[in-house]
Symmetry: D2
Subunit: 386 residues, 4 copies
C-alpha cells in the first residue's frame, strides 16, 4: 500500500519525501522525475527566485537499484541550491547570529495561526514549512506514481482553465494533444487567444504589485472502472482526491466533473446515460460525473478542477500587526510570484497521480510490476466479460 | 483520537456506527442525537419514504452509562422501521425466494461501477450500501461530536445557499439567528423570498418527474485558532474537511471561504488583513479565507460550501442497459425524493463536526472532559498572552 | 483492506464489531461463526457465568446478503442474554437507582489505572470494557477471517501447551489431527496424560480460591510464502502478530517459532537450512523460525505461542485500597473462572486469523473472491516457476 | 501525533527517517542523537565492519532550527561512510557493470521469501533493506523521542539479560545505576561475573564460526499512570510495545513484566497488590505486571524483555540452494558479527521510547513543549487528588 510523508523547510538544506508501497521492478530514473520538477518551475508569472536560483533536481537515495525499484521505501531529496546563503538563518544547530526574527504575519498565510499554535515568536519557524516550495517534493512523489500508472496505460494531465477571471473556452481534446498544448503554453492554457489575455492580466497585476489566482483542471485518462469504494466514507475516490487537491497550498475549492455547475441543472440534464456496444462494452456519451460515481471510478476520464487563490505575499503589502509590539505594520514580503496557477496544475497532477496509484495498488495488490500486471490483465478480462 | 466506521444497508435490519475517542464524562442522550436525525428527514422535496415510514431513532448500546460517556467506543444503531417488509429481500441468511434481481443500473449512482468492481449481478448488492440512507448514521456520529464541541462553545450550523440555480442573497448573521431561520424554513433557506422560489422550483421538478440539486453552507463557529496543521499534507484542516464533505453522497464540489470566487479576484482584494486590539486580541474585518489559513484554523468562523448534484433516481428514468441482456432499458426507479439539499446541509454539519472534533481532540488530548477542559483553558490563556 | 473496530461492555446490551475489507462473494453464515463462539465458552476451569447464562450467538446485520458477503462492512453483534438483569446498572440513559459503585480495584486488572486515566469514581466504567468478555466479538471477527482464509486452503488452529507450569510434550502432528485432539479435550491439550494433570491442577486451584495461567500455541497452516514485508517496521508479519496476540486480555508474552529458546542456542543449531526438490520446490527440514523470516512468511506453518497470566480476579481476594476512603480493602470479586487458557487459544486463533487475512488481502488485492482467487493462483504459479 | 517512516539500504548512500509529531520547542542536537548511535555500534561480538568503517553520525536536515524543534517533520540521515566502495553495486542509476548477483539465500534471513515475494533474482535487492544496519536510524528516531520523554522525567534504559544461555542474576537497581553499569560493560551486562562468562562464550562461538543470541531488557522509568488504553485492541500499550520490539531484526519473543514465567505461577503469587500512602499515593510492592495492566501504564516502571536469535549469517555457512541453478550451495557470507545482543538492547530502548512518546503525545496533546508541560502538570495534579 502506498503511503508517503514529506519533510523540509523552504530555505533549509533540502526538502525530501519517503514514498512506500511502489511495487518492485518499476523502471525509474531521476531524469524522469526531473521533467515534472522543471514543469513546476516554469510558467509566466513566477518571480525571480524561480527564474534564477532554483533548478530543482531530485536525488533518489533508496528504494531503487540499477534503474529499477526494489519494493523498499524510495527516498526523494531536492537540495536547496542556495543553501550556502541560508546556512546560518536556517541552521539546525545553535547559532550565535541567528539573524532578525520575522514578526509581521502575512494575511492569507499560515503565519499568524502557526506561531500561536506552535508557540514561537519567529514566523520563519512556521512559514518555512508552509511555503509552496514544499510542493516540489510532492511533484517528485507524483512523478513516481505517474511512472507506475503509465505502465498500465493511465495518464495524468493538466491545464489552466482560468487566471484572474479570464476563462478558457471548453473544447474536447485527446489526452496527447492536451499535454502538447499545455506544455507549450507559458500559462499552460490550451487556447492561444485566452493565453494572450491571461499573460496580459498577469503583466498588469505585476505592475500593480498585486497577484492573481485561477482555476486548473487535472485529468486522469484511461483509469479502469472499479477504483475507490462506496462502502466507507474514507474509501471514496472523489473524497480522497478532494483531500489531496485541497491540501495544495492556496487551493480553496475542488470540483469533480461538472462540480458546482451541476447544482444548477436538472437531474435529467446531468446524469450520464449508460450505453453498451459489443466493441466498447459499457460507455457514456457524456462525462458530467467526471469519471466517478458513488465514490468509484466508472471508466470515464477522471476530471478534477481546483480554485487557487491569488498568492498572499504581495509586493504592495497588506496590513498586519507586529507580533512583538502589537503595532500596525506591513506584512512581510518574502517572495514575489505574481501568479502560480500554471505550476499548481503540475502539483495537481502529482497529488491526483498519488491518490490514483494508491487505490490502484489497493485493488490490484502484488509486490512486483509483473505480478500486478497479471492481476490487472485478469481483471480487465473479468470486466470485458460482464 | 477520534475514529469511526459505519455499516449497514439501506433496507437492511439497521445502519450503525462505532465511534471511538470521545473523552469520558460527556453528557450524552439518545434524545440529543434524535434532534439531528429528525432534521435530516425534514425538508420540502423529500419523497414518500421519508414522510411515512422512517422516523429515525438512534439507539446507543455501548460507551455510555447513566447518561455519560465512559471513554470506550460508542455504538450507534438506527433500526429500519420497515424491516418486516424487507426481511426476505435483504436476509443475511440463505433465502429460497430471494426475489428478482435489480439489473438496470441508474446513471449517476454507484450501480454500474459497483457491480463490476464487486463482481455481482444484482445491483442491490451495491446500491443498498451506497444509498444516502447511510448518511443517517453519519448524522448520529456528528451529533455526538457536536455535543463534545458544544462543551467548548463551538457550534456547527448550516443553511441552504442554492437550489436548482436559485441563489439566496448573502447576508451576515449571528450563529443563533442562522440556526433559528434555517430550522424554521422547509428548505433551510435564510431568506423568505428565495425560499418561495426554491419551493416553486422543487414543485415544478416534481411535476416533471425531474430532480434538483443545490449548494449548502456549513459554518463552524467559535473554533479556536490552531486546529489542523500545515506540517503535512494529510494534517491540513481544509483538506480533511474537503474529504469529509466530498464523501457525502451526491456532493461534487467543496469550497472553503470564498472558494472558486477567490480565483477571480486580485490578491489585494481577498486576503483578510490582520488587526489587533487589547480586548479582542488579533482579529480580521473580513473572512474570505473561511477561517483556515495554511491548513490551520485562524480563529474566524470556518465556512465550508458544497455543491450537490440533482438526485440521480428520476421518476422519468434515464436510459440504461440491462446488465444481463445488454439491451437498452430504463434505469431502475428506487425512491423518489425530488431535492435533498436541505437534508444534505444537516449531513454536512455532521461530517464537519466530526473532523473538527477530531483535530480538537488531537490538539487538546485528555481522556476525560475535565482534563480536556483544563488543557483547553490553559491554551486559551497562552493564546491571550501572545 | 481489512480493518475492524469493536465495541461493547461486558454486561451491556451487546458487544459488537464492524469488520471491513472482506471481499464480496464469500459464503458466510451465523452458524459458521457460532462454532468458534461455542469453542471459546467451553473448557475446564470456566466459572458459573460461562456455564449457565451465556451461550453466545452472533447476529450479522450488514455486509452479508443471502449467505454471501457483499464487500460492504460486516456488523457482528452478540447480545447479552442476561441483559434483563443488568438493564439498570448498565443503562445508557439516566438512572435514578444506579446502584452502588465499585470502588475496590483488582490488582492485575485495568481497574486502578483506568479510573485515574478516565477520571471516574466507579470502576465499572472501565472494567466493563476491559473484561475478557469482549474477546467473544474478536472470535466472531476471526471466524469471518478464517472463512476467507479457508477458501485459499489456509487453516488456523490452536492447542494448550502449558497450564500452571504443567507442560505438554512436543509432538509433530498434522493440522487435522491437532484440531480433532484439541476440540475433544476439555483443556484443549493434545496429550491425554498431560490433560489429566492439568485438570487436576485446575481443580486444586479452584479449591484454594486461586487461579492458573498457561501457554497456548496457534498455528497458521498452508500460508503462502510472501505475506508481510521486511521493508518497514510496521509491515512485518511477526510484529503485527505480536501486537494482535499481546492485545488479548492477560497475555504477557508472545513468541514466534522457537521464541525465547532460540536465545539459548548456537546459530548453527537454529536456522532452518534451505532445500529444493522439483516436486516440492524450496522446503525446510526444520521450522525453528516459525514460518517467518525477515518479517515475511516463508511458506512453512506460522507458529505463535503466548503466555497467559492467571486470571486476576480471585475468589480469595488480593489486597487493595478503596478509591473513595483510601482504606485497605479486599479487591472486588466479579467473576470466577479459575483458568481460561483453553479459551485463550481460540481467541489467539481469531487474532492470528485476522492479521493473516489482512496481509493476505494486501498482497492479493481484489474486491471479489473470484478476482482474489485468480490473483492467488497466478502468484502460486509465479512461485512455482522460481 | 507521532508517526515515522524509515528508508535506506545497508550499503546504499544513506539510511534515513522522517519523524513527525514532535512538539515545537524541544531542544535537540545531532550530538545528543550520536550518543545512542555510538552505543549501538559498540559491544563485544561485533564484526570488523562495525569496528572500522562505520562511525555513524546523524544529520538533521529539517524540523529543527537553531537547536530547537519547530513542530515540522524531522529528517534524520545517516550516511554510509563506505559509499565510495559501493557506488556501482548499489547505484540507483543504470549500471553497466552491476557486478555479480547474490543467489545463495541465507537461512534465517529474508533472502528466500523476499526474492519470491518481490520477484527478483538478486538477493541483494531484498537483503540490503532487511539488514540490521537499518536499525541505526530507528536508534536515531528513538533518541529524539527519548529527548522528549526526558523533558517529562521519563528515562528509557536497557541491559543484557542473557547471552547464549548464560543468564545474569536478577538484582533490583536504580535507573541511574543500571545506565552506568550497562554502558561500562562490553556486553551491557550488569553483573561482572556473568559478563566474563558471556565474553568467553562469544569468543568460543567466534572461534567456531558460529553465532549467539540472547535476551535483553528495556525499562521505561517514571512513566505516568494512564498511557495506552484498554478500550480498543490496537490502543493497548503492551500490544504496541510488542509490535515495536518484535519488529527489531532477529527478535523472536517479547515479554512484558513477568512474561512467560507468569504462566507458571498461581494468581495469588503474581498480581501486584495495591497499597496507598498519603505521600506516595497508590503504589505497589511488586511489579510483576511490568508496569502495564489492561493495556494501560499503571505508574510502575514498564519492563519489556526480548529474545534475539543468533545472527543468521555464519562464517561457517549453512546449507542453501542456488536460486538460479537450484543446486545445493553454501549460504552467502555477508558480514560477521558473532553476537549483537548488546546492540539490540539499544535498539530496544529506541523502539520502546518511540511507542511511549507516541501514547504520551496522544494523551497530553499540545503543539509546543510549553503547552504539553502545562497539560502534563495539570494531569499529575488530577492524579494526586484522586
Amino acid at each position: 500500500m502506498i503511503r508517503y510523508i514529506t519533510a523540509g523547510e523552504s530555505h533549509g538544506k533540502c526538502i525530501s519525501a519517503i514514498l512506500e508501497g511502489i511495487p518492485a521492478g518499476l523502471k525509474l530514473t531521476e531524469e524522469f522525475i526531473n521533467i515534472d520538477l522543471a514543469l513546476r518551475q516554469k510558467g509566466y508569472g513566477r518571480g525571480p527566485r524561480m527564474k534564477s536560483i532554483e533548478h530543482d533536481k531530485v536525488s533518489i537515495s533508496s528504494g531503487v537499484r540499477h534503474g529499477k525499484t526494489m519494493g523498499s521505501p524510495i527516498t526523494l531529496t531536492i537540495l536547496n541550491k542556495d543553501w550556502e546563503n541560508w546556512k546560518t538563518v536556517m541552521s539546525t544547530g545553535m547559532a550565535d547570529k541567528a539573524g532578525f526574527k520575522l514578526t509581521s504575519p502575512r494575511p492569507g498565510h499560515v503565519d499568524l495561526a502557526g506561531i500561536i499554535k506552535f508557540n514561537t515568536d519567529d514566523i520563519r519557524n512556521v512559514s518555512e514549512r508552509a511555503s509552496a516550495r514544499g510542493t516540489a517534493v510532492h511533484v517528485a512523489v507524483g512523478a513516481v506514481c505517474k511512472k507506475l500508472l503509465n505502465e498500465f496505460g493511465i495518464k495524468i494531465i493538466s491545464f489552466t482553465k482560468e487566471i484572474g477571471g479570464i476563462k478558457a473556452p471548453s473544447v474536447c481534446r485527446q489526452a496527447g494533444e492536451i499535454i502538447k498544448l499545455a506544455n507549450s503554453s507559458p500559462v499552460r492554457c490550451l487556447d492561444k487567444n485566452t493565453e494572450k489575455l491571461m499573460i496580459k492580466a498577469i503583466g498588469k497585476a505585476e505592475k500593480d504589485g498585486d497577484t492573481l489566482g485561477g482555476v486548473f483542471t487535472v485529468i486522469a485518462d484511461k483509469v479502469p472502472v472499479g477504483l475507490g469504494s462506496h462502502t466507507q466514507w474514507d474509501l471514496k475516490l472523489d473524497a480522497r482526491l478532494a483531500q489531496a487537491v485541497m491540501s495544495i497550498q492556496a487551493v480553496k475549492g475542488v470540483e469533480i466533473g461538472y462540480g458546482f455547475d451541476v447544482a444548477r441543472k436538472l437531474g435529467s440534464q446531468v446524469h450520464d446515460e449508460i450505453l453498451y456496444s459489443k466493441q466498447k462494452g459499457y460507455y457514456r456519451k457524456s462525462n458530467n460525473a467526471g469519471g466517478i460515481e458513488g465514490g468509484i471510478s466508472n471508466g470515464e476520464p477522471i476530471i478534477v478542477r481546483a480554485a487557487m487563490k491569488p498568492i498572499p505575499t504581495l509586493r504592495r503589502p497588506l496590513a498586519s500587526v507586529d507580533i512583538l509590539t502589537k503595532k500596525r505594520t506591513d506584512a512581510q514580503i518574502v517572495r514575489s510570484d505574481v501568479c502560480a496557477v500554471p505550476s499548481a496544475g503540475i502539483i495537481g497532477e502529482a497529488v491526483v497521480a498519488i491518490e490514483i496509484a494508491r487505490v490502484f495498488c489497493e485493488k490490484f495488490g502484488g509486490d512486483s510490476i509483473e505480478e500486478m500486471k497479471i492481476n490487472y490483465t485478469n481483471y480487465l478480462n473479468m470486466v470485458r466479460n460482464r
